[in-house]
Every structure is written in structure tokens, then in C-alpha cells.
């Protein structure tokens, strides 16, 4: 009897089936050479903060919606360590990390929601995507326009940028000397994403 129950359990919860995706579900792995750059300015000059190296191997899972032909992502996010931001100026780097509350919220997360199929787009054409950006504990849904750089073979390259404000995430940029020396509200986030198709 015990063996019969075990046999039935194995049939029901087939561990070998754990790696099988549902029909139509695909996956991309985010490659290490993906990058994120933040362009900003202060009352003194402009600055650029980039992520030294994208160290995570995040996997994006999605299926194609039959009606809209859009890719719909499932629990797919990129996670970028705020401590990896480098603004090439030790004080601005430290101030930016403090502004982004990196000790309380160590990671910036980009949750992919949906995207037009890059495979259906021509080279250098643009596609629209929707994502939730989570920064310092605040989540904002944003549209982003990507330029398809390479969709041939197993690697897809997308580059996109989005204009944002610190106040979008309820953040106050650094100000010193009664506000005369300050980092301006507007920032531009540029992403260069390399995805490797799985399967």
C-alpha cells in the first residue's frame, strides 16, 4: 500500500517535468555584457553613472499573446546592485548611493511586464515595452522604447532609454550649500540589454 501511494505521488508530482516549460513559454537569459547607465547633471556639470558589471544571470520567462502578438513576461526581473553604480567621482557616487537608500534597498529592480516581439521587428527599428522599475522601495510602471540592434541567431540586443525624475520614486537629490550646489531632478536611464535565447 505504501509503495502504491509513493508511485501515485511520483506520477502526480513528476520532478522530471519541473524543467519542462508550459507550451508556448520561452526564456531569455540576460547576458553579462548588459549594462545600465544613468545620465544626470548637477548645478556644476553633467555626470554619468554606470554599472561596472552586470553580475547576475537573470532569466526572463515569457509567452506570446496570440491576439496582440506581444511578449508577456512572467515573474521576470533584472536586479542591479546599487553599490555597483560608479559615477567616476567619489563624492557624487557616494551621494547617489545615499539618495537611493542603498543600505535599506540594495538593489534596483526592473520588472519586465510586456514587450512587442523584437523577433518580428527589423534591425534598428523600435519596439515598445512596459516595465515596472523598483527603486528605493518605490515601484513605477513605465513605457520604454527599445531599438532592436540584433535579433538574429541566439542573441537579441536591445537598447533603450527613459527620462525620469528623482521625485518619481519619492527621492530627493543631494543639495549642499543652501541648495546652490545640487544634483538636478532629471535623470536619463540608458539600458543596453543582451538576451540569449534558451531552447
Amino acid at each position: 500500500m505504501k509503495w502504491l501511494i509513493c508511485f501515485l505521488l511520483i506520477l502526480l508530482f513528476d520532478p522530471a517535468g519541473a524543467d519542462k516549460k508550459a507550451p508556448g513559454v520561452q526564456a531569455w537569459v540576460v547576458e553579462k555584457n548588459s549594462s545600465l547607465v544613468i545620465e544626470g547633471s548637477s548645478s556644476i556639470s553633467g555626470f554619468t553613472c554606470d554599472v561596472r558589471q552586470y553580475l547576475n544571470h537573470d532569466t526572463l520567462i515569457f509567452f506570446t499573446d496570440d491576439r496582440s502578438k506581444r511578449l508577456v513576461f512572467q515573474r521576470s526581473a533584472l536586479s542591479v546592485e546599487v553599490s555597483q553604480f560608479d559615477c567616476h567621482h567619489k563624492f557624487i557616487t557616494a551621494d547617489l548611493r545615499k539618495t537611493l537608500k542603498y543600505q535599506q534597498y540594495p538593489a534596483m529592480k526592473i520588472h519586465f511586464i510586456s514587450m512587442e516581439d523584437p523577433g518580428a521587428a527589423m534591425q534598428e527599428h523600435t519596439i515598445k515595452g512596459v516595465m515596472d522599475i523598483e527603486l528605493a522601495g518605490v515601484v513605477r510602471r513605465m513605457d520604454i522604447i527599445y531599438t532592436v540592434k540584433n535579433q538574429a541567431g541566439k542573441i537579441i540586443q536591445l537598447s533603450g532609454s527613459k527620462q525620469m525624475h528623482f521625485s518619481d520614486f519619492k527621492l530627493v537629490p543631494p543639495k549642499k550649500m543652501a541648495g546652490i550646489i545640487k544634483i538636478n531632478e532629471d535623470i536619463k536611464v540608458n539600458v543596453q540589454l543582451f538576451f540569449r535565447k534558451i531552447g
Binding site: 563624492f91 550649500m177 546652490i180 550646489i181
Partner: protein
């Protein structure tokens, strides 16, 4: 008393405008030095402390006004010369020792300290000009 107040507030307003102008000049001419103000040794701007920046020219003007009233008979010569002497005395007696100590304790560049010294001397010179003109 009325003369002292008029001279003190006049100098204070002029020094406030001068201090803002010099700040923007430093940003324009010495941007790398201006970026040092992002250092964690400097407070983040807040309502609680920002007002102190705008009040400091008046603190200086009334302090220098007291000094002027007490020792103006020592300073002889033209308006310019008297103002220059006041600036020199203020720079040597008040600024140099304090800035020496500041540089020894706080992680800031010598360039920044020198701008503060220049800033203080210019402020004292302007205040000296106003006092020697209004209350010779």
C-alpha cells in the same frame, strides 16, 4: 545707534549678494573645486540649516561693525586704504588660524581653504569700504 544699524544692515545685504556671486563664480571658474562641496563633510541642504547661510553675512557685518567702531581711529588714510587694512587684519587674525585648524582636521583640499581665505578677505574689504564711507 541708528547709524550703526543702517551701516550694519547695508553691509550685510551687500555681503549677501557678494557671497552668492562669489559662489556662482567659483562654480564657473573652478568646477572641480566646487564639486568638493558634495563631500560628506558638508551638510545636506535642509530648512533647519539653509537659513544660516543667508544670515551669515549679517553676523559678519555686525561683528566687523563693532570692530570698526572700536578701532577705526587706528586706520588712517583713504577709504580704500582703511578698508584694505581692515581686510588684512581680519584675514590674518581671524581667518588664517581658524582655516589652519580646519585644514588639519577636515578632509578638504588646500584649494578650498584658499578660496575661503580669499572669500573672507573680500567680505571684510567690502564691509570696510561701506563702514569707512558711512561712518568714517
Amino acid at each position: 545707534m541708528k547709524k550703526i544699524l543702517i551701516a550694519g544692515f547695508t553691509a550685510g545685504i551687500v555681503l549677501l549678494l557678494i557671497s552668492l556671486g562669489l559662489m556662482f563664480l567659483v562654480i564657473k571658474i573652478f568646477p572641480t573645486l566646487a564639486e568638493e562641496y558634495f563631500s560628506p563633510v558638508f551638510r545636506w541642504s535642509s530648512v533647519e540649516t539653509d537659513w544660516m547661510f543667508f544670515v551669515h553675512p549679517f553676523i559678519l557685518s555686525f561683528s566687523l561693525k563693532w570692530f570698526w567702531e572700536r578701532y577705526k581711529d587706528i586706520f588712517q588714510g583713504s577709504v580704500m586704504l582703511r578698508a584694505f587694512e581692515v581686510a588684512l587684519v581680519y584675514g590674518i587674525v581671524a581667518m588664517v588660524p581658524v582655516l589652519w585648524l580646519t585644514y588639519s582636521s577636515i578632509d578638504i583640499s588646500i584649494g578650498m581653504v584658499l578660496t575661503w581665505l580669499g572669500y573672507g578677505i573680500i567680505q571684510a574689504f567690502i564691509a570696510g569700504l561701506i563702514f569707512s564711507w558711512l561712518n568714517p
